[in-house]
Symmetry: C2
Subunit: 189 residues, 2 copies
């Protein structure tokens, strides 16, 4: 019975974002999100496991980050490899055309404990992906963990700065600066 | 109508841990947890907002950590102040008598996505408490963030090592070693 619905995941995310902002997260149902997107509830569940999940994409971010770390030059330090990952995020995911969506999404998540909880778990997943990808480059386990945590912190700082409508820079530039600041701060700890 | 129930939160946590292990998290109800603890459902909700929350204590950990950072000597570096916090956790929370409970709790959380999600959010709360407490010592904002992240990573490593039944060391010792390793690794990133 499954039909091919172009951009279904993106349409559902946009619909959910509108409804969460209009009615609140608690007062929005999966059926309501599907209806607003012009899709069915079963299409929703083909893309997302539950209501919380709808703002967290199709799961391609972990692979994007791991792939970029794997593709970094052999001589790159762990944080240089992480910088490659942040670059890829700016090229493929946090592109200028998505800044407004990301800013609205960020506000909706910040306002809801269930979404903050899901975001926290997604953050751990990204850190695990970066840690594993660094490990496959031969970086020792604990160094991989620390580099991934520092990268995730730079990511978070860059995400906050870049999603501010007053910021006109590319995510990649903002992220490279943040990573440099994080690295400098770690020497002062 | 509220009655004073001694150690209600701890009794509920123990009952929940038993039931999650016996029946699985999904098949356990708040009413069932309260019954196993010899308490009422309304007593449960006086202590915990929902079923997920029952394994995450009474919220005193954040204050314990912030207080220990505030009480560190004025000359302490950010990571030395964080080391004070880990010490306090070993003295007040992860005491030897709780090792078995912590090990069982860890296994139950690892097996359940909802509990992992709540744990991820609690982790962010602890990092925020450490960051704020370092900020109140005059540590610059970004340095506070990085020191708190490194401290949280040392905490996680120490928690895994210490909750292993084969480990006989105090949490404080395990945590100080982990923090030293994390600091050394950050210089190699």
């Amino acid at each position: 019975m499954a039909r091919c619905e172009p951009n279904a995941a993106e349409r559902l995310a946009l619909a959910a974002l509108e409804l969460f902002a209009e009615r609140g997260y608690e007062n929005t149902t999966v059926a309501g999100i599907a209806q607003r997107a012009g899709l069915t509830k079963s299409t929703f569940f083909r893309h997302f496991q539950d209501k919380r999940e709808v703002l967290f994409g199709d799961g391609t971010m972990n692979g994007l980050v791991a792939g970029a770390i794997a593709a970094a030059p052999a001589a790159a330090t762990p944080l240089e490899a992480v910088a490659h990952a942040l670059d890829a995020v700016g090229r493929e995911a946090f592109i200028p055309a998505r800044r407004e969506f990301v800013a609205r999404r960020r506000a909706v998540i910040a306002a809801n404990p269930e979404l903050r909880e899901r975001e926290a778990l997604k953050g751990l997943g990204l850190i695990a992906s970066m840690t594993d990808a660094l490990g496959r480059r031969g970086v020792p386990s604990l160094t991989s963990c620390v580099a991934a945590e520092l990268g995730a912190l730079a990511w978070k700082i860059a995400y906050e700065r870049w999603s501010d409508p007053a910021n006109g820079d590319d995510f990649s530039e903002v992220a490279q600066r943040a990573l440099g600041e994080v690295q400098a701060a770690s020497a002062l700890c």
